[in-house]
Symmetry: C2
Subunit: 645 residues, 2 copies
Amino acid sequence: MTRKKIERTIYLEDVPRQQALKQLLSHFRMPREVEWLPTVKALGRVTAEPIYACLSMPHYHASAMDGIAVRAEDTYGAHEQRPKQLVEGETFEYVDTGDPIPAGYNAVIMIEHVQELGEGKVQIIEPATPWQHIRPVGEDVVSGEMLLPQGHVIRPVDQGALLAGGILSVPVVKKPVVSIIPTGSELVQPTIDVTPGQIIEFNGTVFAGYIEQWGGSPRYYGIVKDDPEEIRAAILDCVRTSDIVLLNAGSSAGSEDFTVHLIAELGEVFTHGVATRPGKPVVLGKVEDTPVIGLPGYPVSAYLTLEWFVQPLICHYLGVSVPKRPKLEVTLGRRLVSTMGSEDFVRLNIGYVNGKYVANPLTRAAGVTMSLVKADGLLIVPPESLGYEQGEKVTVELYKPLETIRKSILFSGSHDLSIDLLSSLIKERDQDRQIISSHTGSMAGLMAIKKGETHVAGIHLLDEESGMYNIPFVQRYLKDEDVVLVRFLQREQGWIVPKGNPHQISSVQDIVDKNLIYVNRQRGAGTRILFDSLLAQNDLSVNDIRGYEREVYSHLNVAAAVKEGTADVGLGIYSAAKALDLDFVPVADESYDLLMSREFYESEGGQLLLAVMVSEAFKIQIEQLGGYKVKDIGQVVDLFSADLF
Amino acid sequence: MTRKKIERTIYLEDVPRQQALKQLLSHFRMPREVEWLPTVKALGRVTAEPIYACLSMPHYHASAMDGIAVRAEDTYGAHEQRPKQLVEGETFEYVDTGDPIPAGYNAVIMIEHVQELGEGKVQIIEPATPWQHIRPVGEDVVSGEMLLPQGHVIRPVDQGALLAGGILSVPVVKKPVVSIIPTGSELVQPTIDVTPGQIIEFNGTVFAGYIEQWGGSPRYYGIVKDDPEEIRAAILDCVRTSDIVLLNAGSSAGSEDFTVHLIAELGEVFTHGVATRPGKPVVLGKVEDTPVIGLPGYPVSAYLTLEWFVQPLICHYLGVSVPKRPKLEVTLGRRLVSTMGSEDFVRLNIGYVNGKYVANPLTRAAGVTMSLVKADGLLIVPPESLGYEQGEKVTVELYKPLETIRKSILFSGSHDLSIDLLSSLIKERDQDRQIISSHTGSMAGLMAIKKGETHVAGIHLLDEESGMYNIPFVQRYLKDEDVVLVRFLQREQGWIVPKGNPHQISSVQDIVDKNLIYVNRQRGAGTRILFDSLLAQNDLSVNDIRGYEREVYSHLNVAAAVKEGTADVGLGIYSAAKALDLDFVPVADESYDLLMSREFYESEGGQLLLAVMVSEAFKIQIEQLGGYKVKDIGQVVDLFSADLF
């Protein structure tokens, strides 16, 4: 963190994405190099020219059946009452399927219709028509016929047709070489041994994978430091041996973002900055007639811009069209705000709830790789839109097959590590089904059930007045809804503290007395309600708590803050403390239950969830996690029995 | 063709396909072997268990912006009228995106909002809120979080998340080894040097390609002769080293079909014969607890049965679900007859004509590989159906992307080699567009335009009375339709004869006088109409022509029959004779024109077709084919001008 001279002489533009792409492609009439491959090795490759058969298939008149070859003329008049006799070698020959028709014969009679008389004689009771049961020369392929056009991606069945047509080798378009240059002094190769400030270089692996899938040949150059000399050398080295060159990152306008300057110096910059969120800081240019593209460093930005600009370049080179994802109309489960003037790319989870596809936006932070891993679909909000209201219908591109989305169990509400285990066990029983969970907190989960945005909500809501969990909240907020509350886990909440509990925390009063830094959960989270009730019980105010304003969204994030040392203590569940090897001081046992609509409860997915929940396998895994009791698990709570009031 | 003892003691069953599959899968609880791969090499592989992060991402609190790290408390009260000064090293530090937040600081201010005063001092005019522009530890991934479930096919973005989460190697399911044993004494390795009776072994290559794409590891055993001893040895060799064993063919009930006997002898046969057309003669069984499957020899049967039984076995092993193809509702362009009691699998071409998707069945012959190569979709006719009428709506599985199908130009009518050239040139200008042609003959093409089943019909219909081509037919049959007739090619029709014209044919009278064998075209073909008019002109009858009853469907098939020697002469176009290196005796010049609806003519596809037709590139290629004149090409014929009558 030494002081640096900050120079900012250039600014990012806001070029519309499609315009930037069109301009990029217009600069390159790529030299489509051709290579000849043995047909058996050409799977997935793109034909460089139309391919014509040089052999007919079949290449001789072949019997289509097991039977006898005859002259149709010899069989005329055969009848049940007047069978015709034929003599082997004179008026018939035995043939099997695929055998050539012996010279002079012009029809085949199926063996099932032939009565054998012995001594080389047979009789038939039906005449044959000329050419019956014969596959004539060229039935499948005629020599000279076009088998495949140019620009065709060779499938296994195409290989079959090529070989049948006597094509033993095929001209295919060479895979374009795409060099990947990761730049950044902070980058390190994948390791688990990292120190603060070091960033694991994984974008290059992701790029390589997509390039491979799109038909290119990725070449990983290796990490280059933030040094203009070294980056310049790498660019010059790559443009001479590659068809496309990628730099990642350094594409923005910061003090160490050299990409745009170097491309401008060595060649030409077409675009710096596109009107998208995320993905804006992209550089499109060329050096020595090779496209050179600077991609942003944040993973989500990087992969989106790769798809926008590098995939079309590869397809352009190969002479194939850019494949499109299937689309689906969905109902937005939440309101979505967008900025005017730029396209917004929003990752979404999608589920089939109450007869419609409901989509809930995932985090929009460009640094969150998991938002792409978890996404079922992508919504592109056009530049002129300010966003959409909850309940509005929008069209999204799908990342996953519709059948899988249709079977997903949407889970909302309070976070718990056991939900992932449930999902795994469900997927074991039904490959297509899993739980898609979003950690929104108990209250948000309860409201999501009310609004029909989710199948299941995990809730642990303590009613201060009655001291009772969950039931009073359901009665209060969902009294007109047909819902089912299922007992799930009894779990321990407690203080998550560093190993050895250095501040000897045992109560909320300790946090205040010792002036410790607390890490809080978001509004509406059951854990926050529990903490607030602890404050109330001890006559403490939120102003007494340092760090009360710092909100995180899951037990694991609380534990991570403690682990990192930016908080001394947080409230959370045992399994989160255990996962990060922290200590845990129990505070309360709570009821963590599952709330669902009756419709889902009674559905195939709901019943599978129930079955897995009460299975022995789940109990064993829950025990390994620790901090839970499974009493009454799977039992339906009687929400409106009189004794609750 | 020596006499064989035909023994037929077994018969094929008619087991419903789904029942046979269920029974097959129920026999195998496959040992899902696990292997550990470096994450960077795991693309496309299937996770063998859930994967949990062992590193948080980011693993330190990181600046999300280029700017300065501050303590939020120090910035409170900053205002445009009352800026706050901060001192480097005391109350702020410079940070770039990704830098760790220096100890003691808890917020970042973007560099754009910082005014530099020099000498290590800056001023700000807005306060920071705690944790602003900081990516806290675990924002993306928290150590202990589940990154991927088991049974997940690893995508590039998943590799990114794994590496970010410190997962450098992953447990994946081993690819199941699928051995392919081609059997048949008639089989030869791909070659263009074949003699009658030899069959090129290409099914094995096709199988290997699909197995690869489905996630298996294909192993090609090599051709085994039709000898029970050799086949038995191959099976035993393979079952011990493979997870699945395929035999192809010999799966039927013929005299040399040993598969079912050998599997029964060495293990157990579950099913012999399924109720499908094609694909019936399949054998499902096991030997030493390894699935052994006998696939039929005809290519279409072989690839369909592979998909029905081998793909589910591979997916079962891998623990993933069988992917489904997208579906589409289409209108049948032609009547389709099906047999009761068996599922029929019909390959179709599909095009978007007059606002609806129209599907036309391709040949149903199981030996025609090209019917799968050319298919846009597959219709499964259930066992209880007798078929569908023309115009009925049915749902099909798609083999090609809908965008491609939507842009296809459906071509019907008379066959000509120039159509393939047109298609290539169209595809060169628009990757997604090509001509899908079916050779139905001129009259059928004309009627397909009338019925709205096709975009374009190629016709060359000689009106005997007027001696005029095409126009009288359009006037007669399509007088109420808004159609456009476009001049295409003037082409030579003539006698296609063996090299050197051994029978010295120069007229139709020669064929009769010399008692030669003729190969005819199907009813409604323009060439047949021409031949019939030649007969009429010479006062000859169809009974005078040997072979008149043998109908083939294209010029190339006519040429193939002459080439093979089963006909002495046929009528056809010059380019077909040339393609098979035959001689050609000109008979007539004819107008081969393109008929289309006005709607298509005016559409983007129609205009592209027109543009390509009149292009220099097309003219050059047509000249190379030979036998054509391109006078007036692309001109619209005035169909109803007075002087035609």
